[in-house]
């Protein structure tokens, strides 16, 4: 028996959230004296595969079929169903992403498993299988007992520490044989910001709101982000007005981030915006209005004009490096 874990890659490299998922699976498998089998689908750098051993995988199944690079949900769900059968795995762990959420849902139906979503910590297996999951985008937690033998689990970012102490994993090729019925959607065109740090994965985020006055002022936020190695985000009105692309919009109706540091500039801190940031470890708020509600959710605050503070802050960070 083994715990199966789905591993996603981005431009040939394993995503950090997937490494976390592998380490989570390892800690879970240890409770049952099981091992971890990672499933990697599509084009990935070869060294990345065996390297998953460090994070806890005993074995890596790799299906190099380039069809998987197209980001369809159905082939991923089918491949995981097949791998779970082959490995007689009762537990399948998936990192959080919009594709894996839907793949997890389909998989749970395919293999008749209970689905536990957005787990924030390792399940308690002392009496049954108890999970703790994030609900209301991190505003509360719910405890649930999964009653079926088979379980599909999706993780919230930060659910496990990445372990680096494992040995090389054995890599086996795997053929899931994508069926025609799984090619159920046609992908016509992909538009993607190349080389940018992905917002949902980012450790550091610099985010701007309506207080930035216009898209022409984003240069200073980008400069700050570049200095820190941070991703950029924004509030909903900013993407509604098309100052920034939609995929940067953070909040209830946008991306949920959970970085180590979220710097909010000229964002008032409406509850719907906070819904996307309240799993951040540290929040810095820069706002000219000392009454802005965001300060209540912040760890560090500066009351001041962004146009003065941001360039100074960027310089100070450069100086401290």
């Amino acid at each position: 028996m083994s715990v199966l874990v789905y591993v996603e890659s981005e431009e040939g490299k394993i995503k950090k959230s997937s490494r976390e998922a592998v380490s989570f699976a390892k800690a879970l498998a240890d409770k049952f004296n099981d091992s971890v089998t990672a499933v990697v689908l599509g084009t990935v750098d070869a060294a990345e595969l065996s390297g998953l051993g460090k994070n806890g995988a005993g074995k890596v199944l790799h299906d190099s079929e380039s069809e998987f690079d197209k980001g369809r949900i159905s082939p991923v769900a089918s491949a995981l169903a097949k791998a779970s059968e082959q490995e007689s795995a009762n537990i399948v762990v998936l990192p959080k992403s919009s594709l894996s959420d839907a793949a997890a849902a389909k998989l749970s139906v395919k293999i008749s498993a209970a689905l536990g979503t957005n787990l924030v910590e390792l399940p308690d297996t002392s009496d049954g299988f108890k999970i703790k999951r994030s609900i209301f985008t991190g505003k509360a937690f719910k405890f649930e007992k999964l009653l079926t033998d088979k379980k599909v689990l999706t993780l919230k970012k930060g659910a496990a520490e990445i372990m680096e102490s494992g040995s090389e994993a054995k890599v086996e090729s795997f053929s899931s044989g994508i069926s025609d019925s799984d090619k159920d959607i046609t992908i016509l065109e992909t538009e993607k910001a190349e080389g940018d740090i992905l917002l949902p994965e980012a450790e550091l985020v610099v985010s701007g709101g309506r207080g930035m006055k216009g898209p022409e002022n984003w240069g200073m936020l980008e400069e700050l982000a570049k200095t820190l190695g941070a991703a950029t985000g924004c509030s909903k009105p900013v993407s509604d007005m098309e100052w920034r692309p939609h995929h940067e919009h953070v909040g209830q109706t946008g991306v949920k981030v959970s970085p180590d540091l979220y710097i909010a500039v000229g964002i008032s801190g409406a509850i719907q915006h906070l819904a996307g940031v309240n799993s951040s470890k540290n929040i810095v708020v820069i706002n000219k209005d000392s009454e802005a509600p965001f300060f209540k959710a912040a760890d560090y605050g500066i009351v001041g004009d962004a146009f003065e503070v941001i360039p100074k802050l960027t310089e100070a960070i450069k100086a401290a490096k």
Partner: protein, 245 residues
């Protein structure tokens, strides 16, 4: 064309979440319930499609009687009729099964849902229903147009978007800016009172999940204020206290 829109009944996004004293449930006192914000986009797009090409729009909710005002609101916004499957929406699998049982032989061309519920955030019901029905699931969808029997969509991916297409029938999990939220007008509210709202009993299914209660996150400490002319202090704190840069 027939469009099914699945709506959840969730606390308004401004709600301050509270628990009952035994932590076994959410404290619903004083909480305003609304159509899930993503589901509201799905509904708005369905009504737009109906206005443009003609379609029958059915709004469905799995819920107890207390959800009826929310369902009436969907009718006021422009759904033609509504179905309530009478059961507590205990877990995603259960909800998906109920939707499947209703939709499987009903001849829907499109099943529109939200990308996820704003309470439990599973983002799973659409995938499950699509799998049960053996039809494609596309999510999260930011644009949806119909051309003949093909649906053309923009789907958000991390760091960008993809243009995709698929044949009907299909399930889509919607998010903005697929449509503008619609606010019911007086005529809509009046007509909603007389539109059909059918109540169906749930199909019993073995439970896969048992709820064990809730917990609130730890309260945040005080916010440390730093003078705007002393940004070096912020850098120092981020470096040496928070240890994040």
């Amino acid at each position: 064309m027939k469009i099914l829109v699945c709506i959840s009944h969730v606390p308004d996004t401004t709600t301050k979440i509270k628990l009952t004293s035994d932590n076994q449930d959410l404290d619903k006192q004083g909480v305003q319930f609304v159509i899930g914000p993503y589901d509201d986009y799905a509904l708005a797009r369905a009504v737009e499609l109906k206005e443009a090409n003609g379609a029958e729009v059915v709004a469905l909710n799995v819920g107890t009687q207390e959800t009826e005002p929310t369902i009436r609101k969907a009718l006021a916004i422009g759904a033609d009729k509504a179905v309530r499957i009478n059961a507590e929406p205990k877990d995603t699998q259960f909800v998906a099964k109920q939707i499947f049982e209703h939709a499987k032989d009903a001849g829907y061309d499109l099943v529109l849902m939200g990308r996820e519920t704003s309470d439990y955030n599973s983002g799973a019901v659409h995938g499950m229903v699509a799998e049960m029905m053996g039809i494609p699931c596309v999510t999260p969808v930011m644009r949806l147009e119909i051309e003949g029997d093909t649906v053309k969509m923009d789907k958000e991916i991390e760091g960008g978007k993809e243009k995709v297409e698929a044949k009907m029938p299909l399930v889509a999990g919607c998010q903005e800016p697929i449509a503008e939220w619609k606010i019911p007008n007086m005529r809509g509210i009046m007509s909603a009172r007389t539109k059909p709202l059918e109540v169906i009993e749930a199909v019993g299914d073995g439970e896969t999940i048992e709820s064990l209660g809730y917990e609130m996150p730890k309260a945040k400490g005080e916010c440390k204020m730093i003078d705007k002319d002393n940004v070096e202090e912020l850098v120092n704190l981020l470096k040496n206290e928070a240890k994040v840069i």
